[in-house]
């Protein structure tokens, strides 16, 4: 089938050097057999007009005066062939990928209800700038998803978004036919989100095609002039608020106060951040409040800045003194801080029961949420008679997927990765010893241990040296107390070949799930909450020899049991994986597919919405 023709509209106003570079890269990387380039000269006063006249492969639309961004682009759209799709392309964009237009076109025509397609934009220094946009009704300040993250090829799939910036926007003709061009109620700014929202009302989706990445210099013609920018921005913001304020607010179908922890490097905090994002995306108006602090088992003040726009806005919301529904997401001994009229306690633990204090406080809740059947059984075994709902956590498949770029070992060694906090539960010493004994130094196999130790009196270095690992045994490399930005962790997983989680018990095991989503085969103890999402088809379950009393520093474990992973079986699995790399890689691939199909944060958010609907 002949592809539909596309008109690429490049709007320019002075700054010839930008336009020239844009057109050069466009020409070098675009098949113009089914496309034409329309350059709108928006009343330039420099050499632009003369230079454009010299270029034979473009069509020039000239405006005598500067019409502004919106009307200038509309002039280009009006000049496009009436049956062609239109691509708006800023003149400060560079193209470095062949086939970019074909890929955007294919994404646009993949479904009849896709109307607008954007792409990933990166800054010239390589940082990600844009993978879609969102607008919160609290602030009416559009935000770019992924902005300023180090580019590790996150957001690589095609996904639905609320809006995109129109530095590059593929618009299908059907959308233009139905809603017209950009709204001239705006002179500049907000017109892109307005267009996407109008398209949505007309039945069209906006997507970002992650397979295309363009470079955006962000030299907007007004952003270099702060006073002009501020005036235009505020004028457009007011217009936008009048048009869309009530409609954006109406997308929230539920209100929840979420009492938890956000700005610490803990499992609850990291997952809380994702839950809040997932809830917002699923139409839950969440107000966040810190649940710990004075008079709690964790009497530390929380930093107010989450270093994330969405999370900061959610933290600034006030849920009221007695919200209708409140969820305490944290350890069960802070459940009683729940201030809701319908009180939910959401927790997890790594052993086969729950402490008496947690159960006592759980009894005061209207219902309990746990991520796994393993923990539901633990609560029931501990005598809780309240309803216990299994509410699984999820994984961010935009930052954890097999296409994330890692840094492979240049020597080609097969690399195992273990990632844990030093302590009794994670069986660090067993992993090191078994690995060291299983392999010989001369073998092309390495274990990387990412170790965090937050317990100052513990001298991890001395403990490792005391293990007297054999110099002729398997080689081990340590990353000790290195915190990586969360958005880059996928790159760590993609730098290795197999993930090892051989601990005694897990409350969920987010790193394991993230590694699996990245397509890694894994060796994981066959006991604990993570058995909710781990099975033999996608992982190598590590046998246990039985259950043992959970002796550790954590007071919550006292009186309960956890697993005794079998070191002989771990040795067998280490060897088996290293010698059956294709089989292992296939398991990793199946793991990634299963995580994306069943265990995303979107799934988790949907489950929360289902439950909130049942409560309403």
């Amino acid at each position: 089938m002949t592809p539909r023709r596309a008109a690429i509209v490049v709007l320019c106003w002075n700054r010839w050097e930008l336009t020239c570079h844009c057109l050069e890269t466009l020409k070098a990387h675009t098949d113009l057999a089914h496309a034409e380039v329309l350059v709108v000269d928006n009343g330039s006063t420099d050499e632009t007009a003369a230079r454009l006249r010299e270029i034979r492969w473009i069509r020039v639309v000239t405006s005598g005066t500067n019409l502004g961004y919106v009307r200038g682009n509309n002039a280009g759209i009006a000049a496009a062939p009436p049956d062609a799709d239109v691509v708006l392309l800023n003149n400060d964009v560079e193209i470095h990928e062949d086939g970019w237009l074909d890929t955007l076109r294919a994404a646009a025509h993949a479904a009849p209800d896709i109307g607008i397609v954007g792409c990933r934009l990166v800054l010239p220094d390589g940082r990600l700038l844009h993978a879609g946009t969102y607008m919160l009704p609290d602030t009416f300040w559009g935000q770019q998803i992924g902005a300023l993250e180090t580019d590790v090829n996150q957001y690589a799939r095609t996904r639905d978004v609320e809006g995109i910036v129109f530095a590059c926007a593929y618009m299908k003709r059907e959308v233009l036919a139905k809603i017209g061009g950009l709204s001239e109620k705006f002179r500049s700014y907000f017109e892109d989100t307005d267009f996407c929202l109008r398209a949505k009302e007309a039945g069209f989706r906006t997507v970002v095609c992650g397979a295309v990445t363009l470079v955006h210099h962000e030299h907007g013609s007004t952003s270099d002039q702060p006073k002009t920018f501020e005036a235009l921005f505020q004028e457009s913001r007011k217009t936008f608020r009048g048009l869309w304020g009530k409609k954006l607010e109406a997308r929230y179908r539920h209100d929840v106060t979420w009492q938890s922890i956000l700005n610490f490097p803990t499992g609850y905090a990291m997952s809380c951040r994702e839950i809040l994002r997932a809830c917002d995306a699923e139409g839950v108006r969440v107000s966040y409040e810190y649940v710990y602090g004075s008079w709690t088992p964790f009497p530390v003040r929380e930093e107010e800045n989450a270093h994330d726009y969405l999370l900061n806005v959610l933290s600034a919301r006030r849920g009221g003194r007695r919200p209708r529904v409140s969820v305490v997401y944290g350890q069960g001994d802070v459940f009683l801080r729940n201030k809701g009229r319908h009180r939910i306690g959401y927790t997890m633990l790594e052993v086969d029961g729950f402490p008496a204090e947690w159960v006592r406080q759980a009894k005061e809740m209207d219902e309990i949420w746990v991520p796994s059947g393993f923990n539901r059984d633990g609560f029931l075994a501990s005598g809780l008679k309240k309803p216990v709902h299994v509410m699984p956590l999820g994984v961010d498949v935009d930052h954890f997927h097999p296409g994330i770029r890692g840094v492979r070992n240049p020597a080609g060694d097969f690399v195992f990765l273990a990632n844990f906090e030093w302590g009794e539960r994670k069986r660090a010493e067993m992993i090191l010893k078994v690995f060291n004994q299983t392999f010989r130094r001369k073998e092309p196999v390495v274990l990387v241990c990412k170790v965090i130790n937050v317990n100052k009196p513990t001298n991890v270095r001395a403990q490792i040296e005391a293990l007297d690992l054999s110099a002729n045994g398997g080689r081990i490399a340590f990353l000790h107390n290195k915190e990586f930005p969360y958005h880059q962790l996928g790159a760590l997983y993609r730098s290795v070949d197999c993930y090892v989680s051989a601990g005694r018990g897990e409350g969920w095991d987010m790193p394991l799930m993230e590694a699996m989503a990245c397509g890694l085969p894994s060796i994981a103890t066959d006991w604990g909450a993570h058995t909710e999402f781990v099975h033999e088809g996608i992982s190598y379950p590590l046998r246990i020899r039985g259950l043992l009393p959970a002796d550790a520093r954590a007071p919550y474990y006292k009186g309960f049991r956890w697993a005794d992973p079998d070191p002989e079986h771990l040795a067998h699995l280490f060897r088996h994986v290293a010698e059956h790399r294709e089989e292992a890689a296939a398991k990793g691939g199946r793991a990634a597919a299963e995580m994306a199909a069943r265990w995303t944060w979107e799934h988790a958010g949907n489950r929360i919405v289902e439950r909130l609907q049942a409560i309403a």
Binding site: D468, L469, A471, N472, G473, E483, F484
Partner: protein, 88 residues
């Protein structure tokens, strides 16, 4: 031989092997305990005290690094400081 009998035979064999390993470990531990310290350490390192350990701890971070590291740079560094397969 039926499947069940075969399974039983394998279980028995595995139990015997485990007992044998335990016995050998106990004997070796007793022998090592009787060695002078230097010789015991040399043995633990594979019989040659001149060998480097199979890990390197020189880039050790005792406190959690608050300025978060870049994965790409950190992994490139990690691969460079990996102990060699054979001692140099």
């Amino acid at each position: 031989m039926s499947g069940e009998a075969e399974l039983e035979r394998l279980r028995k064999e595995a139990a015997e092997l485990r007992a044998l390993v335990r016995e050998l470990s106990a004997q070796s531990a007793a022998a090592i305990a009787a060695l002078p310290l230097d010789a015991a350490l040399a043995l633990a390192r594979g019989g040659d005290a001149s060998l480097d350990p199979p890990f390197r701890l020189e880039h050790w971070q005792e406190t959690i690094e608050m300025t978060r590291a870049d994965v790409t740079a950190e992994m490139a560094l990690l691969w460079k400081r990996l102990p060699p397969r054979e001692n140099a």
